[in-house]
Assembly symmetry: D4
Homo-oligomer: 159 residues x 8
Amino acid sequence: MKVGILFGSRSDTDRMKGAARCLEEFDIPWEAHVLSAHRIPDELEKELARMQADGVKVFICGAGLAAHLPGVVASKTILPVIGVPISAKVNGLDALYSIVQMPKPIPVACVGIDNAYNAGMLAVQMLALGNDDLSRRLDEWRQKMRADFITDNGGGVDL
Amino acid sequence: MKVGILFGSRSDTDRMKGAARCLEEFDIPWEAHVLSAHRIPDELEKELARMQADGVKVFICGAGLAAHLPGVVASKTILPVIGVPISAKVNGLDALYSIVQMPKPIPVACVGIDNAYNAGMLAVQMLALGNDDLSRRLDEWRQKMRADFITDNGGGVDL
Amino acid sequence: MKVGILFGSRSDTDRMKGAARCLEEFDIPWEAHVLSAHRIPDELEKELARMQADGVKVFICGAGLAAHLPGVVASKTILPVIGVPISAKVNGLDALYSIVQMPKPIPVACVGIDNAYNAGMLAVQMLALGNDDLSRRLDEWRQKMRADFITDNGGGVDL
Amino acid sequence: MKVGILFGSRSDTDRMKGAARCLEEFDIPWEAHVLSAHRIPDELEKELARMQADGVKVFICGAGLAAHLPGVVASKTILPVIGVPISAKVNGLDALYSIVQMPKPIPVACVGIDNAYNAGMLAVQMLALGNDDLSRRLDEWRQKMRADFITDNGGGVDL
Amino acid sequence: MKVGILFGSRSDTDRMKGAARCLEEFDIPWEAHVLSAHRIPDELEKELARMQADGVKVFICGAGLAAHLPGVVASKTILPVIGVPISAKVNGLDALYSIVQMPKPIPVACVGIDNAYNAGMLAVQMLALGNDDLSRRLDEWRQKMRADFITDNGGGVDL
Amino acid sequence: MKVGILFGSRSDTDRMKGAARCLEEFDIPWEAHVLSAHRIPDELEKELARMQADGVKVFICGAGLAAHLPGVVASKTILPVIGVPISAKVNGLDALYSIVQMPKPIPVACVGIDNAYNAGMLAVQMLALGNDDLSRRLDEWRQKMRADFITDNGGGVDL
Amino acid sequence: MKVGILFGSRSDTDRMKGAARCLEEFDIPWEAHVLSAHRIPDELEKELARMQADGVKVFICGAGLAAHLPGVVASKTILPVIGVPISAKVNGLDALYSIVQMPKPIPVACVGIDNAYNAGMLAVQMLALGNDDLSRRLDEWRQKMRADFITDNGGGVDL
Amino acid sequence: MKVGILFGSRSDTDRMKGAARCLEEFDIPWEAHVLSAHRIPDELEKELARMQADGVKVFICGAGLAAHLPGVVASKTILPVIGVPISAKVNGLDALYSIVQMPKPIPVACVGIDNAYNAGMLAVQMLALGNDDLSRRLDEWRQKMRADFITDNGGGVDL
């Protein structure tokens, strides 16, 4: 059980870290690669096959501009693909539309602009579907998150 | 193994049918309910608990305008929640933003505007993660879809 | 007579100060809390009940991204709820839509993006409805504001 | 205790009916006028004074395009002003911005595009602040609305 | 023959300088004032009357957010009013819509976002309509501008 | 004293009628032509020269899509050019931007999307600058418009 | 010398006819196919190879929603690819962004939303680069278009 | 065989460098000029004629705001014109629309906002149509780009 994190340019590395940090909170192994839907379509296919053979169950794909990577990956696998729109121009709306508006019957599960952390969390939720231990840990994590939130924010704020 | 389809207004019924049709192609049972994040928050919570007890593993939530239902459901379950933005005003951008821009650490898996079919397909992909039979059938479905596409569209089009 | 100021993240503290400053110009007490529609839904409900018991008559809720907090609060109280869209992504349009486009029959009174001061003023206007003294002070404030504006800006500007 | 409903063009009459229907559910009297911020500024001022003398406590103003009416009314009264953006061009975004983005210190309480019903409800909530009977009836209305919603929508939907 | 330059906040002073600089290139006198459509509606009216008595023939009005000033001025004079949308939020689209979308029959002549210089030039063109000397100077200015452009930019650029 | 009404396609004829109707209310002669910035640039220039020789003092130019006609006309005359964005795609925003965002030092006076009537009125205001009789008639028209508005809309509306 | 016209769904057939009509005006042969970047990626590649072997020199690709087809084709050929955004949701902005915002170093030559005719014309211009006869015919076509425009539109329009 | 690079303001020089760099990778000569559709329409025409006489086969035109330069150039030549929207206001959407939405029958080949490099590459692709040597070099470049991408990005990334 592993998550594959893919993105189209080394310059997006910092934006994608949140996904890895989230997965590590749940001890879920990941591997990350810079791949390109347009530059190396054949290598992309080979890498996807290898990663699936190596136990990858969910893909997280970050992309900016005309962000085709998530959709192209989704067309080459039956595993769920989570897309992270990365903002570069027009506030990231180009990437958002290019990811979320995937036509029938190839969906991408889109999360918020630059929100790689939520992509990681969504992957955890998917993996927990068939994994009682992870499901239990996710439940505990949620409860701890709530308790921490109350501890951190209880008692009012001074404005 | 079941999918819960939720939406906020009976008038959205037609827009959500695609999700059910897709699930039926894979013999995945579903149940659908009109629920409201704002009108009946307590009943919402009870229904979510009951549905999970009845075997629901993934939620599909359709909503328009300030489309809070998917996010509110996501805050009350650790199961994956798929959001379908329904267009009513401003071309559905209000619903899209209200669903896809969920803040850390509660994601919603957003699909395209009015694209309930893709929400169904994404649910199938998630359920196939822990289910080899469904995974095999999804793979076959993809191959048949491809063959049908070629049969239907081979040989050129007259313009 | 008190105003409850709520927002979803400690990092929004600075953006919400304008509401407090405005209320203080009218000697209206306020209390502020970091609460979350999605992280701690149960605690949110308890806090709202407590605040109303403590005399809160109007809620001001600031939120960014998929800004559900104002709408969720509005669904749990019959008091007026004022929403402040906080800009984080897409120039704050995501928060604006998530707040202003609330469906029937649960309204939120939305003010401008990042304009917490106006939220405070709107709360003052609401509270003045049943309070002749406050109404008189608001009227005087408006007159003084006008006089100050003329004093500050009379006589032309050099460009 | 009365609500003044104002709008800029007789052609907007149908779009504003929701406000009156909502107020009537709570037996709150209203009067409606076609007034224009730009065509008859002096008459506008006189009408506002007369309406306030006649017991108007909240104004609901609907406007489309460069929708100045709500803001102009707000600048001439200390009563709360609720703005309804009416869609005519660019999906109503012109009216939304012209209403919600009012600068300091003159707020307008903006509701959703073409959502006059919610404007009525917001007026009810404001009037209930200083009126225990109305507050009680609003509370009962909410409970009945919830019960009706459950009656209407219980038991699942067929897709 | 004079141009009145009006804007709503002293903080917009720098953005409006271009209008004055352009008018000075044609020796057209101007006077500038910080006025507010919403804060001091009565004083606004008095100032407009005084300025017209002092020879103002065209108004240039800059405003941001819900930019009502140009439209309000236009409703109080039959002189042409030129509007300059000033960017503060949402890239200045709020101001653009609030100015350009003025309804029938009160137009505002809108120029580009933050483009006060072009507002000055448009005022020059209007004033030249009834003034042969200014018309001749404007024609010469255009020719000189063209010649300068060629001098400055002839011969290619190194990239 | 005449107004030249230009637009890029015969199919826009209906959208431009408002300009002619407005001018006729003030007995201002007009002539209208279908011209194209891109298809017949040389003929455009000749026509502009002829129209100016025939007494045209203001140009009104309607255009849709990448609406270059108003800006191209403005670059070829020192007379004021009024632009009418005509909606064809993306709600007319393409035409709005192509007209209103003209760079320094060639302005176009932009009015609202599809609002040819206001373009006519703006032309009247410009022509009235050097014409006391027209100025007086415009003033009377405004007063009559106000009186008519009050007659038509006095006494409240039934919702 | 031939043009390949590709689009993702048989339902887009009518929107793409303009490209064929334009090419036929210049006696340029074309062939059209319904292909899908996501459904049949392998077949897409084979068809592209076959078409290039059959003499296709330019590709015109129409697509809606997350319109990946033009970019995917561009990644698989060194021939120029012209993209036509087809409007289905959000006024076609999703398709526009998905096509025009292609990242370095794989461009798509994007034309206007639903403007397949212009895609055909751009293909003609590209093919004319290395073809003096076509270049001459294109030049004549332009001159005839201009003459026809003047014939059709000379003499003024009645409004 | 040469490419003409045109843009409207010396301040855009840096944004256009990418086009030159790309052309130099293929040893394609270029010349660049600051020209203006609106300021010097006659000189523009002369320069275009001279450049074509000097062997220019493709034009690349960068422009911001109401970006008319690419369309105006396209109306004056039958050579392909590539447009680069340059962002200055509203995230470059004004320039994008003004370029990509060119009406029938004068297309501009639009690339991404501020993406001059892709404009250069598109010019290379067009020139390669009638040039087997360039076509071969472009093919090799693509292969090397792919190999370099794999070399640079092989083996995974650390997040």
